[in-house]
Symmetry: D2
Subunit: 342 residues, 4 copies
Amino acid sequence: MVTPSSQVRIGIAGLGRMGRRHAENLARSVPGAALVAACSPDAEERAWAERELGVAKTFEDYATMLAAPGIDAIFLVTPTTLHAQQIIDALHAGKHVFSEKPLSLDLDECRRVEAEAARFPDLEVMIGFVRRFDASYCDAHDRIVQGGIGRPFLVRSQTLDKYDPSGFFVRFSATSGGIFLDMSVHDIDCARWLLGNPAPVRTYATGTVAVHEELYQWGDVDNGVAICEFEGGRIAIFCASRTMAHGFEATTEVIGTRGRLTVGGNPRINRVELADGQGVRNACTPTFYERFEDAFLREDRAFVDTIRSSAPSPLRLHDATEATRIGIALRESLSTKRVVEL
Amino acid sequence: MVTPSSQVRIGIAGLGRMGRRHAENLARSVPGAALVAACSPDAEERAWAERELGVAKTFEDYATMLAAPGIDAIFLVTPTTLHAQQIIDALHAGKHVFSEKPLSLDLDECRRVEAEAARFPDLEVMIGFVRRFDASYCDAHDRIVQGGIGRPFLVRSQTLDKYDPSGFFVRFSATSGGIFLDMSVHDIDCARWLLGNPAPVRTYATGTVAVHEELYQWGDVDNGVAICEFEGGRIAIFCASRTMAHGFEATTEVIGTRGRLTVGGNPRINRVELADGQGVRNACTPTFYERFEDAFLREDRAFVDTIRSSAPSPLRLHDATEATRIGIALRESLSTKRVVEL
Amino acid sequence: MVTPSSQVRIGIAGLGRMGRRHAENLARSVPGAALVAACSPDAEERAWAERELGVAKTFEDYATMLAAPGIDAIFLVTPTTLHAQQIIDALHAGKHVFSEKPLSLDLDECRRVEAEAARFPDLEVMIGFVRRFDASYCDAHDRIVQGGIGRPFLVRSQTLDKYDPSGFFVRFSATSGGIFLDMSVHDIDCARWLLGNPAPVRTYATGTVAVHEELYQWGDVDNGVAICEFEGGRIAIFCASRTMAHGFEATTEVIGTRGRLTVGGNPRINRVELADGQGVRNACTPTFYERFEDAFLREDRAFVDTIRSSAPSPLRLHDATEATRIGIALRESLSTKRVVEL
Amino acid sequence: MVTPSSQVRIGIAGLGRMGRRHAENLARSVPGAALVAACSPDAEERAWAERELGVAKTFEDYATMLAAPGIDAIFLVTPTTLHAQQIIDALHAGKHVFSEKPLSLDLDECRRVEAEAARFPDLEVMIGFVRRFDASYCDAHDRIVQGGIGRPFLVRSQTLDKYDPSGFFVRFSATSGGIFLDMSVHDIDCARWLLGNPAPVRTYATGTVAVHEELYQWGDVDNGVAICEFEGGRIAIFCASRTMAHGFEATTEVIGTRGRLTVGGNPRINRVELADGQGVRNACTPTFYERFEDAFLREDRAFVDTIRSSAPSPLRLHDATEATRIGIALRESLSTKRVVEL
């Protein structure tokens, strides 16, 4: 059992783009963590983990890693479709689990994971809603909790990706769940968090294909907008885009009876401003990673701290279920052009 | 008949808060305009016009002013319910007409005004959508027309009023048409203008009473949000609020395939920033008037210039009808909680 | 004699770039002003005033205009070298006078004007330090007077011109007095005003020729910096540049014991922000005129209001003398590379 | 000898406020570093290092730590007066050295360290000018090197501390070297770095006691300003303040022939903006640490990377000497009220 003074021995599954970053964090920058195992079907990725991060044991196969001794916790940076079963398997193997978002695109599966996790109260399960660990989002949350804007009742939140001429994301449209489940799920989670976790009541969504016409075949869009009403007259508006010219942007406004908070109103990459023939300008965060690099590290540390301290997780598994539930309703509204009651 | 070198002799109807401001503009700061008449049921207001602005003739009654000689154009700053008939009466009396927005809250009335105006092609009728004359909105429009953001397809526009503890506006809820017809009509008009005047297709709206509970009796809200879909996959999102803590704010984002324009992202009142124990901050425009003071003057000048030059008006009467049509649909959606097809 | 209800009949001398703008203001947008006369050696300029502004009488010669009947006040937008004598002549002719800055580049001449003006206490003499009439500078001044930043003790102020490849200004270097007397004189006046008119004690200045090498022959620079110490431990820092890539910028920071005010930290031309491949940016004011267009109008109105109300002028003639005195000291320091005691 | 694959074994001297932070970085977040020893006269600090960071060996005495086996590099976070001799002692003991800035307040001592270091070309000596490792300053430097603003010729740089009612810093005025050597030394180093390391030519400085009257006894000020001229017509302006109301701020503008870069124009602590009755505002970084927390970590990593890779240090020891040389000249100018030639 992990104690506050002991190291959390972690095995990571998935060493793709984000997997590598989590692995680097865990190996180098998370006090109390020891990255002892890594699992990937790709031999080169495994070799990288051994060589660069000094990972002692690597595995081709997830089940084999789960069966190996000396691992306290599993870190899942695998395809979304695998998350639910891999979490359940890890719990059965007695491991704490961190999984990248979303928990699942299937609501029943979300609930099955919740039910299984409830059987293992001593094991931590955390879904990576990274914004909950971002310093700015946390500051906004603190200010709200302290009454800084009175009673919050309206959230406007948007996640905008820089246009990628390669259309990389299109290939994943068939399996990503579409724009709302893939992108807005962060905004949905933030809205719930910042509004005090109200139950959703009703939602409407629409969207358009501005650039990527290949999306028509999947019923998906590259720009989506939605309204979600919650109990108590609370409302959220979401926008998601795959086609922005300037970079990645995550902006969340929370409007309360005595003030408004805005997180990320300008996606500035740093503290430099350039004044030249173009005007006065700042460069922007090209991808979500530059924007949330610190938050990913804080997230990884929070997971390890939670295990070591046996404190309750900063987010509940049910939050992930709710985000998926709302995301599915948005997708349904997009395709039916009708309001969806929840 | 008015010629480029002659003065446009104007009679204004309505000398309330906004009426006085238009009157001052016309009397003092609009080249080519002569404010020769004013009409108000209030003796004190008429005395003010005579004393402060040197208005030669004042009238208690609109019909009497219309019948008086030596007036080329009428300026209506009267209650909304009067606009339509007063415009028609002015046309029949051979006058050009400027009317404050909205044209009418009744769609049939809007169409009746359009039909009458079509019978007087030599007379100008302009509805005061003041943002069309604001330097920043005009700059945004110019940039869009010049292709600066590629093809525009999404507008996010909001009009936010500062919270007024006196609840002044509540008294007008019964007659103002509700939050969307009273406030969002500006955003609706901007969205149409900046998206290239597409036809609306479908809309959904909702809202909440955050503070002013008296609104429940009128079926109105103090914070409203809406999505409006237009032909060609163009979309607009509107927000309106009566309860902001910081001041009046009109923000409009236009998203195109190659860039995004934001007008009014920070409602700064001027170019002063204060750094003190509260952080770094700027004061905000308290009401719409401080924000659009210049635009009101430009609007008044544009009306007079249009008459003198016989050039086509910068906005068509049909634009006002469309704004009302969409506003009515938003109100219906708010009350039915259903999508309204247009 | 001018009374509050009478028109101030104005004759303007000088119809160059700025002269035209003042003339337009006075003819069209200044209540209580009547532009009745204009003087220019250029026949075309005179014809413009007659045709466009309806100016009744035009003159080739300043003395003739002064001698003409029916003129209450003179507006001087003439070359700097003429200001002092023209002001004195106008006073002797019984006219109120507005003169563009600077009063003179010669300190004795400044003092001679002050002495003459003292002999005509009923006549107004105002030098056009336009920033004193700018809404943002006025707001800053009001906040300081009201104690908003405690005791102000440090000003950082800069005037930056957009680089003009034509080198237009270089031609005037011989007669403009150099960068500090031509440009920084505004910052000097602002610093005195915002610091409470302290007496200057000591100054040091330097500069560099970054681009316009023709300036070497005049001992002038295209970028200058200076420190000016005032009594009571108050300090001002000035920068002036002729070579900015982005536009015209006037920024003034005032630092007090309880806060800091910044006027014009970003020379944004309007409320539009553009997000595209260049980042997030705003366009800038290209010249001082776009920045201070409103202030020029307010200045013109203030001059007329002062005459009509017999209220004291918002700025004293001595302020102009002090600005010249400090400017001359900066120029001396620039050439000697030594501190100049005042 | 340290190789790329081996750990750099570090002993830290000084566990005060900044010492603890460097120690935490080295123990937890610097790949390739092992914090194996710590030295402090304070028993509690040593106990903290053992308990919290797992430091194997702690020492009361610097000489004893230097003599201990198994240490590759020394990290000095000790009082300024000790830096020079401690660096020399570490070199003689065969250790690489990192020292917090400034190298020394005495120019001869700076030169003595330079001379000694030249005798040990295989040992790294780095002085902690932390801004050289800040992401924003590095971005600015990169842009300049790539020609983004043409030829840079003017720097305006300021370091402003939040007012501390306890007057904590006053106690150190006698030994800190005064405001320019203590605070502006960062701006001096940045100016040299961003202007391409020009030799200084001439300087003038002044200042004022705005709040802390106890400073008069030390000939120091709580607000200082200075101009420093470099060869080739390059110029820097420095401001330093101990009395700001809003927080810590480090702002550096670099002006070139084709553009201007500004680092840190708004000392925002994060990406949150609050709109309420105070206007629109952001909170500020309270101290230099919140502003440069990431840079301190990058600095620590850079030191370790330099040792492991045997690459040249990103900054030369001579840079520290130059910063002290200019700082001393500024102090002399402040006290003599005369220009100091360098």
